[in-house]
Symmetry: C2
């Protein structure tokens, strides 16, 4: 990012997608929109607001187009939506989504279970979406990103060879994704592996190397962020309250917690643009939509400490 950028690190809030997708109950559309508005009002510049998936599989996402269209009215917000295939991408583009995010899984077992495709078939789907997007007028064409799931290991298959993960990233970029990130939806990553994998990603893809998506299942999320920062990662996915945990594992928290991530980055002198108090206030909205849902995060419980100050530019320390 250039020195003129108002942020040093881009946080891509995924709660409305990764969080709500993993919860069986359906949040009313108006409540989702109110939540997205509050998240944006805290200063988050990018939100993955929904997923364009068949309603028969995920009825809780059947209002995807409406959520995107409402989010587009929020000034300055970059609106992401997930689409697992061409059909979803067509709907996402029709709704006016700024960036379409597609999942490609490096684990063959997970790819079959999640997408009913081999990884190679998923790459072909990316290529089809690229070809479709290229038919759209440039001014209304969504950009296309891919997150490589199970990039650090898989709960079904176990170890996923690192060379294969990077090879798959190259294939995905060649198929037309403009950014390719590495995702750890099961929380297996460790800082040594994170440094090694993102170093390799940047070496192979240059400025197409994308976001880090870490989960906090084993409490290692922010430790992995520190490692990723060291090797130049500048975009991190996170979710408010860490929602997005596996519904089959009580206590297994989900994504890294946006509130705690902002605290980490700002404390390190890295500007996020996010106001922590406004962000914490947004928790009340999703708790109305999902009563009794467990929200995680230390900063919301502890409050901001006396010595905390936001990062400044130029850095004061």
């Amino acid at each position: 990012m250039t020195h003129e950028s108002p942020v040093d690190i881009l946080i891509s809030e995924v709660g409305p997608r990764d969080g709500l997708q993993n919860i069986k109950r359906t949040v009313p559309t108006a409540k989702k929109i109110e939540w997205v508005q509050a998240l944006a009002a805290s200063g988050l510049r990018e939100i993955e607001v929904t997923s364009f998936v068949p309603p028969k599989f995920m009825p809780q996402m059947s209002d995807a187009a409406e959520v995107v269209q409402s989010a587009l009215h929020i000034p300055g917000l970059h609106v992401l939506a997930l689409a697992p295939n061409l059909r979803g991408a067509e709907s996402a583009a029709a709704a006016g989504t700024h960036t379409i995010s597609m999942p490609v899984s490096a684990s063959r077992a997970h790819s079959q279970a999640n997408l009913r495709k081999t990884p190679e078939e998923a790459v072909e789907e990316v290529r089809k979406v690229r070809q479709f997007l290229d038919t759209l007028p440039a001014e209304s064409r969504p950009s296309l990103e891919v997150g490589i799931s199970t990039a650090f290991g898989c709960s079904i298959q176990g170890i996923v060879p690192e060379d294969w993960v990077i090879e798959l990233c190259v294939m995905v970029a060649e198929a037309g994704a403009q950014a390719v990130g590495l995702s750890d939806g099961v929380g297996y990553a460790n800082p040594v592996q994170v440094r090694r994998m993102f170093t390799a990603l940047k070496r192979e893809l240059g400025d197409k190397a994308g976001a880090a998506h870490f989960h906090n299942t084993f409490g290692q999320g922010l430790a992995n962020v520190v490692a990723a920062l060291e090797v130049g990662v500048t975009t991190f996915d996170a979710s408010q309250g860490g929602i997005g945990g596996c519904p089959h594992s009580p206590g297994a928290s989900g994504n890294i917690v946006t509130e705690d991530l902002v605290f980490l980055l700002e404390s390190m002198g890295l500007r996020t643009g996010v106001d922590i108090q406004k962000l914490v206030a947004a928790r009340a909205i999703i708790l109305v939509g999902l009563p009794n849902e467990q929200l995680y995060g230390h900063v919301p419980n502890a409050g901001l400490p006396k010595v905390f100050h936001y990062a400044t530019h130029p850095p004061t320390k």
Copy 2:
């Protein structure tokens, strides 16, 4: 540490001291000892088992001598105890403690509140303890360590100047402490500060630079561990279940969680000697002694993942 060491990183378990000291209820002595035994059985090589403080201030530590004497029977265990002053150190030495740990606080406000001394007076207390220890026969002489409290900021005073913290460390080493560590009992530290402070500590003190003591109040504990590892810290304090939180702040967890720390280090290829399953089993014992106490930690909830393996020597990755 040399290549012949069976561990790469020493975890100093502080739960029986830092944890129980911050809980008003008193755990029966037999239960404390059973807990220390179970912690040691998991492979922990060093445990801070108690605190030699006046029973009128902390009745829950009035069995300090008995706890130390029992812990001395555990083969291979290095037994630490905290002593705030000469009188406590005399009792600790009489009980046979291997290493006495003394607190010195860098914040003047915290030093007065906690020790009723200025930092300079606390340094003089260290000197008195050194002189006392030097009168003991070498074979039964405890070693002497100091952790500098509020080294990363203070909840009373706010910012604590970093230059002063390092100057104080030098004074403490000159007064006769064999190791001087940096402690963050309020969880304010961030990874940039951690790198800077431990780099300065090592530059000034060489191999007398001691342990990192981080709290997880704001969820930043393991992120700070990653930063400390980068600058050569090889000893970390941690507590089982993260006990040791401030009793006045519900939800403000305490020390970094030993279970999650072991997971981090072993995943990174750093040997701790600790068996995570045996360590998790020890939680049941302290929960009997402290029913309804909140224990933290992600690994105990999530269980070990399929891909987890302990670090080996030489490293395989």
